[in-house]
Symmetry: C2
Subunit: 485 residues, 2 copies
């Protein structure tokens, strides 16, 4: 029977993921030991529990299997849910006062790289737990996908195709063969992480902060070790600039970074998505810097530093805040609201709509305007140098529709828990886009999600997973249609 | 030369429209005389000025003309602008203290059937001016289109096709031939207006209120004669129910009403758009009635009356308010926000996205979900009993995109004038959708647009025209692609 046989694959994949997760728990235990924290036992316990379940699953799944492609939906969802379930353990064990919903919220927020927090008093939180939050984001950012690449090809499902984004103009010459692409992506991610950590450390962070913030920067996760978020480092503007650069890099397509590292210098700047992304970012930075300079009378350099940092933080869905940008004035508020939906480039660690979807929606618009004037003409739509397939356009627009519909439905759900209009609307948007902060006094850049009712926290946790999963399932399951493998 | 010759058509069409407008000014002068108001001179002056310009234009345009279809864009826009320009005259002449921007805002709000007001003290306003506001909405609601139908066929442009909505399943048997369709549409509009006025009068309004509110109800315009909007009549709930019924009727496709009047009883209930519209309305009414009953402890009947009235008022883009529904609680706020975008059926007097566009976007979504599971299958998408053309789907999605993009851009513009987040966002939405009230303390159902800065008023006026024009130009200019006339 097919169903029974595909079960073996499910056991094996989830089992492997749990074993890997337990390794990171072990690492966290090491960190706790290093800082002389009693709670190292909690990480050790979590690790032992996770590895035993994980290994049992791998053992149960040792038989041959058959998989129908549509089951990848279920497998993907189950992988995320199992990781969330076990990753909750350290929070529950280390913080005895924490409610179960808070532990789940924080875990989901970490693993989906959203970075919304319900924890207060981060400045005095056990180092081990801060490390665990950061590691979860780092895994969530791209590690999960790298793991999927490492596991799925071995299972002959062709997960490698994941990273060939629909729009990339890259020939086989530029990219390495599939077998080494996953390795290259891993190397790029590790290199970026290590460079970011090193620079943070060289420019004044202590070692622990450099490592954790390096991880959450490159994962565009946005968890910080301080209640003031990245604003804790405001007296060292160099750190803000370093973070800005690495958030920007992490929002570029990973395959293009690989290609660039292989010596194709202009690959990035020739990509239409990257160009649009950089232009939008630059435009918002210039506009808001001038607005701040004239409207709030801030010195130009100071305005530039904080505008650059916060604009990049939101458009890349990282979600750090250097200060309460919601107080900058009406124009800033609306722009940050729009940036919440944007997201970075496809094939990066960011969430949100992604730039290429906005571009394709724009292409459709231009086509319709042309049709208005010349009703009988025929155009071939191009993106970069490739013609745009009608099927691709359809899937992109359907994604945009489901994306906004999900945000609408989630905001409706949140409003039932007596959240005000702005909190409900921006809370839904920030959850589905995996950004982190919303707007308004409650969940704005200087607020937390701690005071929300439990029901709202469950809904937002669901929304964060939905945001991450849609994008994954779109990547995983739309791919066969385009490459027919 | 073609351009020179097409100019004659422009003169003639705009001239005719101004002559018709001047007739309504004359009627308003009559109303002022009836109420012994000195200001009747102002309407008379406006009328003389308008008719002389109008007649000169008709005379200048007496020659033969040639028209390229793409010029209809410009013609439509110029028609609206000229009408706005001359319709401003009574406001400027009767209210000497009014600023020019306020006069323009009020005129544009009236003629686009938006119904947002900058005037305070409506209860003591000269009756003539209240009548003028109502007449402008009545003209704007469908009169403008009826005029276009009466003029354009004579000019052999085929404006008749306007009312054959893309989705209608109506054969030639059900509808009359083109030559009498415009007449039938006029008759339906007049019948609805007269019935609404009569019922208002029979159930307790005075004659003047019955006539003006009848006009603004059927036009889904939403101007009331009182600062409390329709809430002035809260002690006569029958009036709220009558208004609800006529707003609902006015949000149905006019051609289907014509067909129904010709004896095809089930035409309306068989139409997929009408069914979806009624279902959405009923769902929101039931949900919010229960919410109000349980959450705000209102008696069930009272809750039902006010929920029905306000939900129908917003979904039909009429924009009356019987009370400050923004104070009903978080759920109500979000639902009213969503209803602002919805709009009624296509081919009605309502603004907004229109129900069939939401339905087609939903069709696309369902198709994509099917493709995820069965990547190689082929489906024929159906709307009602007709297959959905890819070109139609493209134009609908492009419209949705430009609609939301316009709202986004307008909100951005408004935020530059220091409007708060909610005012900027809902002000933009209510302007483009031609609804009327926004949310928040400033422009909410119990507020007015009076306190906004001049720049914001200009922007909103532009937005109201844009909302109306897009829909018109879409109707006017997308039509050739489908019927190739
Ligand atoms: K984030
Ligand atoms: K209206």
């Amino acid at each position: 029977m097919q169903t029974a046989k595909s079960r073996y694959l499910f056991y094996r994949v989830i089992g492997y993921l749990l074993v890997i997760l337990s390794m990171f728990m072990l690492l966290t235990a090491g960190v706790a030991v290093y800082f002389n924290e009693q709670s190292f036992w909690s990480y050790l316990t979590s690790s032992l529990l996770t590895i035993s379940v994980g290994y049992s699953l791998v053992y149960k799944g040792r038989h041959d299997f058959v998989l129908m492609k549509r089951q990848l939906f279920l497998l993907t969802t189950l992988c995320w849910l199992s990781i969330c379930l076990f990753a909750t353990l350290p929070f529950v064990l280390v913080l005895p006062g924490i409610s179960y919903v808070d532990a789940v919220f924080e875990t989901v927020s970490a693993i989906t790289t959203t970075g919304a927090t319900v924890l207060k008093g981060l400045d005095t939180m056990p180092r081990g737990l801060l490390f665990w939050r950061a590691v979860l984001q780092w895994i969530g950012g791209v590690g999960i996908i790298v793991m999927a690449i490492a596991i799925l090809p071995a299972l002959k499902i062709g997960g490698m195709k994941l990273f060939k984004t629909e729009n990339s103009d890259i020939s086989e010459k530029i990219l390495p063969r599939s077998s080494s692409l996953s390795l290259m992506i891993g190397v790029v991610y590790l290199t970026m992480s290590a460079s970011c950590m090193t620079l943070f450390y060289l420019f004044g962070m202590n070692g622990f902060d450099a490592i954790t913030h390096g991880m959450t920067t490159v994962a565009t996760g946005g968890f910080a070790n301080y209640d003031a978020s990245f604003g804790h480092f405001n007296d060292q503007p160099e750190l803000l600039w370093i973070a800005s650069v690495f958030m920007l890099l992490s929002a570029l397509p990973l395959v293009l970074l690989v290609g660039t590292l292989r010596g194709h210098k202009w690959l990035l700047l020739r990509d239409p998505q990257v160009r649009a992304f950089l232009s939008i970012t630059a435009f918002c930075v210039v506009l808001l810097t001038l607005y701040q300079h004239h409207h709030n009378d801030r010195p130009l350099l100071d305005a530039l530093t904080h505008t650059t940092f916060n604009v990049i933080s939101i458009i890349t869905t990282c979600g750090y805040a250097s200060e309460n940008y919601a107080a900058w004035g009406g124009l800033a508020l609306i722009i940050f609201f729009y940036l919440t939906f944007s997201g970075g480039c496809s094939g990066s660690t960011t969430g949100g709509l992604k730039i290429f979807r906005t571009q394709l929606a724009g292409l459709l618009l231009i086509k319709q305007f042309k049709l208005l004037v010349h009703p009988n003409a025929v155009w071939v739509q191009k993106y970069g140098s490739k013609p745009v397939n009608d099927q691709l356009l359809g899937s992109v627009l359907a994604f945009c529709f489901i994306y906004f519909a999900s945000i609408g439905a989630l905001a409706l759900g949140l409003s039932m828990y007596e959240l005000d209009f702005v909190t409900a609307l921006t809370g839904a948007a920030t959850a589905i886009s995996n950004v982190g902060p919303g707007l308004g006094p409650v969940i704005g850049p200087d607020g937390t999600f701690a005071s929300l009712p439990d029901g709202a926290k469950w809904l937002i946790s669901f929304g964060m997973l939905l945001g991450r999963l849609e994008i994954l399932t779109v990547l995983l399951l739309f791919t066969p249609m385009y490459w027919r493998f």
